[in-house]
């Protein structure tokens, strides 16, 4: 039928245009290529960490010494991961951590050390091991430091140096610092030391309390600005507010960026935070609640509205047919 043929032509050109300006153009815009112009495909690897990305990056840079260093580091991590940790022994080692990770909200060398209450639940085991061995290497930000022990947490490798100790403390965290974690807790522990979320009234100092007096409110604001200045001095720039990040970046970008920030933004000062799958899901849930709270309502309402218009269209078709029946 002629009308259907015309419809097919219209649909074809519309879809072609859509494909060109959306999937194809966006792929071309965000595509990353190596030195030989070959595309680098960035894929999520389920929030587990074994240094594959880091080694591949070093290889692309053509820096043989760096490749060796990265390989050796992640091989070490693997060795420790194979050890059986003793949680009870780990508890004494953990005392080293509490010195800084104490919830006192005091900036130490750039950021406020995060609370570790759910560290066993939201972070990957390999990542925790890597972090204790060398935080800059674990975060894949070693390029920022001439000597990785200059990292604010860099001295950890002198306090906890024994492989068995590392295995113990990680076992302790996975056993005792796990448990049920809310999206807010996961987000606060993993992200808030650098990122504010103004839609949930969260700053680098945590929740913004309600103040009775303007004076107290301003005093708090000043404290926030001072903290932000410290973070800025440490990171180079103030890390962005994450209120709308869930809408501003696609799911794919979020996943792969959190797994390895250097992959998506080479040279960025953001370290890898080492979230595991559960940790990521919780953080995502929190950001969705902040930046796209209507998602649920949208997905629920969608089928009803579309269903209504399908019904409407069927009726309209019958009406049209009755009107045009005796015309030809």
């Amino acid at each position: 039928m002629r009308e259907l043929k015309i419809f097919a032509v219209v649909v074809f050109f519309s879809l072609l245009t859509y494909w060109l300006v959306e999937p194809y153009a966006h792929h071309q815009m965000h595509m990353k290529v190596d030195k030989d112009g070959k595309e680098i495909v960035i894929k999520s690897h389920g929030f587990t960490y074994d240094g594959t990305d880091d080694i591949a990056e070093a290889e692309r840079k053509g820096d043989a010494a760096l490749v060796t260093k990265k390989k050796a580091f992640w091989a070490d991590v693997k060795t420790v991961a194979a050890l059986k940790g003793n949680a009870a022994a780990g508890e004494t080692v953990f005392a080293n951590c509490i010195g800084c990770h104490n919830g006192a909200n005091i900036n130490m060398g750039g950021v406020i050390p995060p609370n570790l209450d759910h560290s066993g639940a939201i972070y990957d085991k390999n990542y925790l091991i890597a972090l204790i061995k060398d935080p800059a290497m674990a975060g894949n930000v070693d390029h920022k430091y001439a000597d990785t022990s200059l990292h604010p947490m860099g001295s950890i490798k002198f306090t906890v140096s024994d492989n068995q100790q590392i295995a113990d403390v990680v076992a302790y965290m996975q056993e005792k610092k796990a448990g049920e974690v809310t999206p807010k807790e996961a987000f606060t522990e993993a992200c808030v030391r650098c990122h504010a979320v103004r839609y949930t009234k969260t700053t680098q100092l945590g929740d913004t309390p309600k103040f009775k007096h303007k004076k107290d409110e301003l005093a708090h604001e000043i404290k926030v600005i001072e903290e932000q200045d410290l973070v800025k001095a440490y990171m180079g720039n103030l890390p962005p507010d994450l209120s709308m990040m869930i809408r501003a970046r696609g799911e794919h970008f979020m996943e792969t960026f959190i797994e390895n920030p250097q992959g998506q933004l080479a040279g960025t000062s953001m370290p890898r935070v080492g979230l595991n799958q559960e940790g990521y899901e919780k953080v995502k849930e929190y950001l969705t609640e902040a930046g796209d709270p209507s998602k649920k309502a949208r997905e629920q309402l969608g089928p009803w509205v579309i269903g209504f218009f399908v019904f409407f269209t069927i009726l309209a078709f019958l009406w049209k047919k009755s009107m045009w029946r005796d015309l030809h």
Binding site: R2, E3, I6, F7, V10, F13, S14, L16, T17, Y18, L20, V21, E22, Y24, A25, Q28, M29, R198, Y199, P240, S243, M244, M245, R247, A248, R249, G250, G291, D292, P293, S294, A297, R298, E299, L301, G302, V305, I306, F309, V310, F312, T313, A316, F317, W319, K320, S322, M323, W324, D326, L327, H328
Partner: protein, 409 residues
């Protein structure tokens, strides 16, 4: 004073005072549309419906939006999207509507070009339609500024910079348009005024004019046949519906329109609920920051073809080419020298010209978004931009030699 009888019904009462029955007859039941049409003839009413949807959703958004550079972003993304009941729905509808209205405008335009519906008495239909296209473009651009995200700010920066006229360096004009050295508060507020008041007013006026221009030359038909509308109307009124070449606007033509609208609304709401990023660019969910240029600055898809005509040339040539491209379509009825009002497939070389135009416009649209840093895309951009500029002269020549089609023989 005129003589009035007592009315027996509300209808009669109204009829006595504003001639309701005459209005109904003139605008609906005896407004004759050719019978030989297809669904593309419904695009006008689809556009009217989409405009209505944009007005309605816009009214709801207007109640919470704040035209202030400090408040605009959060009033949209927090107040409207998170707090206002169904605020998110209005915004999604408004965003999708703004994008789809252009899809339908383009389909409507190409339909007009394909069937030659811009000639022999129908020139004003085309011109008022092009006026609407320009007004809708201004409406879309001013609306795009309002959420005050990164793309709003930088698109505003780039587009207003065009008014510096390249080497003319008329920065005074640019600053006058902005009311500031960079897009700021004065800029946002004046574009807000344009978007919610002045341009909609112009659009409504132009829609009335566009409808008005249809009245005497009547709507075209699939074969471009000349119809004696009075004779055909008499046949219809005499009950010879099969023999008559026309149908009344209401309810017969409208019944088909409503069905097409239904199909369109299924697509519309699928996009509103499930695939909205193409119309609401994620980059615009980053707040405007004059200190940070986004990696890629590109306009919405419907402006890409003209943007691409600007890009591949040097600054001044680009601006001139851009200016020509904007104005060229207006002159279509006068560039086309052929007297034939017929579908493109019956018009010899014009058929190839039409499909070449489609291909060029789509290619330009795609290349407008593809990174020009790639030498292949840059070259293709130049080729298609030049090709577009040649389409006018080519049309002039091929239609001059087009064979006259004998009708009714």
């Amino acid at each position: 004073m005129a003589h009035f009888e007592k009315a027996n019904s509300l209808n009669e009462w109204m009829d006595q005072r504003i001639g309701l029955n005459t209005l109904k007859r003139v605008l609906n039941t005896e407004y004759w549309i050719p019978k030989d049409i297809n669904f593309l003839w419904a695009m006008g009413m689809v556009l009217a419906a989409t405009f209505g949807i944009l007005v309605i959703s816009g009214i709801f958004l207007l109640m919470y939006y704040k035209p202030d550079t400090n408040l605009a972003f959060d009033s949209v993304n927090y107040t409207i999207m998170a707090e206002v009941g169904y605020g998110w729905l209005w915004r999604h509808i408004h965003g999708i509507g703004a994008s789809l209205v252009f899809l339908i405008i383009y389909i409507h335009m190409f339909t007009g070009i394909y069937y030659g519906s811009y000639k022999r008495g129908r020139e004003l239909i085309w011109l008022s339609g092009m006026g609407l296209f320009v007004a809708f473009s201004a409406e879309a651009f001013s609306g795009y500024m309002l959420p005050w995200g990164q793309m709003s700010y930088w698109a505003g920066m780039v587009i207003t910079n065009l008014f510096s006229g390249g080497s003319l360096e008329a920065y005074g004009l640019v600053e006058w348009i902005r009311g500031d050295y960079v897009p700021g508060d004065a800029y946002l507020t004046r574009f807000f005024m344009l978007h919610v008041f002045l341009i909609p007013l112009v659009i409504i006026g132009l829609i009335v004019l566009h409808f008005g221009t249809l009245r005497l030359p009547h709507v075209n038909n699939q074969e471009g046949a000349e119809i004696d509308f009075e004779e055909a109307a008499d046949l219809w009124k005499a009950g010879k519906r099969k023999e008559s070449k026309v149908i009344p606007f209401s309810p017969v033509f409208l019944s088909k329109d409503v069905f097409v609208m239904g199909v369109y609304f299924i697509l519309f709401f699928y996009l509103v609920f499930y695939n909205f990023n193409f119309a609401m660019d994620p980059v615009n969910f980053d707040p405007a920051d004059g200190l940070k240029t986004p990696a890629h600055i590109y306009p919405e898809w419907y402006f890409l073809w003209s943007y691409e005509i600007l890009r591949p040339f040097s600054k001044d040539v680009g601006l001139i080419a851009f200016g020509i491209a904007q104005a060229a379509l207006f002159f279509l009825p006068f560039i086309d020298r052929s007297p034939n009002v017929a579908p493109a497939h019956k018009r010899g070389l014009f058929k190839y010209w039409f499909w070449a135009l489609i291909v060029i416009m789509i290619a330009l649209t795609a290349l407008g978004k593809l990174p020009p840093t790639d030498p292949l895309f840059a070259t293709l951009g130049l080729i298609f931009a030049v090709a577009f500029l040649f389409m006018g002269p080519i049309l002039f020549v091929i239609t001059m030699f087009e064979k006259k089609i004998e009708k009714g023989a």
